[in-house]
Amino acid sequence: MALALDIALRHLLHRRRQTLVSLLGVSLGVAFFIGISSMMQGFQRDFVARIIDVQPHIIVKDEVRTAPRQPVETAYPDGAVALRGLKPREEVRGIRGARNMLAGLEETPGVHVAPALSGNLLLRYGGKDLSVNVTGIDPPRERKVTHIEKDLLSGTLDALYTTSNGIILGEGVAAKAGIRSGDLISAVSPTGVLLKMKVVGIFRSNITLMDNFEVYVLLKKAQVLANRPNVINRINIRLDDVEDASPLAARIERQYGYRSEPWQEQSRNVLGIFVIQNVIMYSSVSAILIVACFGIFNVISTVVFEKTRDIGILKSMGFRDKDIRHVFLLEGLIVGLLGTVIGWAMGWGLIEFMASLKFDMEGFIKSQGLILYRTPRHYALSAAMAILSSTLAAWVPARRASKLNPVDIVRGAG
């Protein structure tokens, strides 16, 4: 093997420039893999951490997943007559038996619940109309379930009690209409109730959608606005162990029939985008490595072509097919290994460079600069991909070299 390595190294050194180019290709592939994965995963993990932090882990809604069967359909399941234009029975909105449900859930260890009534609201201030989602909350229970209190830039959650008609706005909502803490604004609900409300707090969760569209009032106030006294239409649940969200949500839904969404489902859109993001990232990074592999394929093919005579004499000397194959596979492996090591250094530098950038970014979430995730896994994964693909790229020319017939070579030359 030492001999094969010796020959392989001399071949590569002989084609120095080509070797350097393919080396650079692998290094760039590895570096980008590390840099881009770190950026993407940093962002994704940060997002997930934030929604787990900010949003309820499970939301029980006053909806059912499948539309209920209408009485006529139940009465005549095998009816030969098709019904059209059937007017469905009006269901009373809101969670029925909410009090019992809340009590039942609260007994479960590691589970914190808060009732809420959410709906739409039109805010009017200084000639501007803003359509927002309003959530009526019960502050003592809400602070155990969401981090709204922690996210308040000004004011307190308890100010909702001390001020009549108090309202808490998302930072974006306030900014859009130029509303400041203490301002009086008009709120119109879809049922036509008009209230003058006083802004007692402004929050910033750094989740763009929430900051731009959410406002909070007392549960009682929300019931007044919706004209539905004593009704709640959501139960927010926070768990000590986030991993329990899915099974618990499924259990609640089975038990009570109401749609229960774990946080994964609430953020399904974004999590789905992450999947697409990852696919795009890995394919573009793979593309770089594939191009790099063409470089390796090229340099080793050239060496095989150039070294045909050497291969002939080595074979006549008693090198077996596999000895010849090893020489050229080693060349691919050397380029892959060296490229990986250089790529690691470059990737590390890339991450440090990206970490040093400071700018305001607003997407799904807000942040100052890029959020980076550093893990040895990215280094290991990129090394595995680079070494595997460079060995594969070397395989084809190596095989061709090992199959060369020495007689053709020595005869051709003579």
Partner: protein, 227 residues
């Protein structure tokens, strides 16, 4: 086997190239080369001299007959087993020196020794240096092949052929690119290797003057031995 097992023996050796019209390179060759014997194979071009040599050297497989190396039947062995025989028991010299251009002369001679792996690195180096010395090339050991003259290169190639001390040396037009004086020197060298070291030597040449320096001459026409 006879008591004096011949170094190399060909029995009704035949090699045909398959195809719509099969071409016969070598037909029904019977040949025994004893240890210490220096045989020259002559014949016009296309007569199958080189083909015979490749068959004897296990570089090519016969379509009929068989080759025995030191009494060992070689037909039916795997390509890897052939490679092992070539490595330890056969040394090749070709018209072109085929030295690896990136390796020094010394390193070139070391390659077969290292491949065989019977000697330590230091011993391999020592043996390679000794072989170069015997070719009067000790001063050039560290040089690259391109820094040497044609005759010197061919002597390095001969040193390399001797690297694993093979009983059989096969040379295919080894003097094709050399001037007459150097060519004579190379043939003298082969004669010495046969007489003094007891190796079997088969040299293919189209030069009948040089062939006279061999102990025995075999003349091939159209793939057959003619008297």
């Amino acid at each position: 086997m006879t008591s004096s097992a011949p170094r190399v023996e060909a029995r009704t050796l035949t090699r045909e190239l398959p195809g719509p019209v099969p071409v016969t390179l070598v037909r029904d060759i019977d040949l025994v080369v004893e240890p210490g014997e220096f045989v020259a194979v002559t014949g016009p071009s296309g007569s199958g001299k080189s083909s015979l040599l490749y068959l004897l050297g296990l570089l090519d497989a016969p379509t009929g007959g068989s080759v025995l190396i030191q009494g060992e039947e070689t037909s039916g062995l795997s390509p890897d087993q052939w490679a092992a025989i070539r490595l330890a028991r056969i040394g090749f010299v070709f018209q072109f020196h085929f030295l690896l251009p990136e390796f020094s002369c010394l390193a070139n001679v070391e390659i077969p020794i290292r491949r065989l792996g019977r000697l330590s690195t230091a011993q391999a180096r020592e043996r390679a240096a000794m072989l170069l010395d015997s070719m009067e090339l000790a001063d050039h050991a560290g040089k690259l092949p391109e820094q040497l003259s044609g005759g010197q290169r061919q002597r390095v190639a001969i040193a390399r052929a001797l690297a694993n001390d093979p009983p059989l040396i096969l040379a295919d037009e080894p003097t094709g690119n050399l001037d007459t004086r150097t060519a004579h020197m190379v043939f003298d060298l082969f004669g010495k290797l046969a007489r003094e070291q007891g190796r079997s030597i088969v040299v293919v040449t189209h030069d009948s003057d040089l062939a006279q320096l061999a102990d025995r001459r075999i003349h091939l026409v159209d793939g057959r031995i003619v008297p």
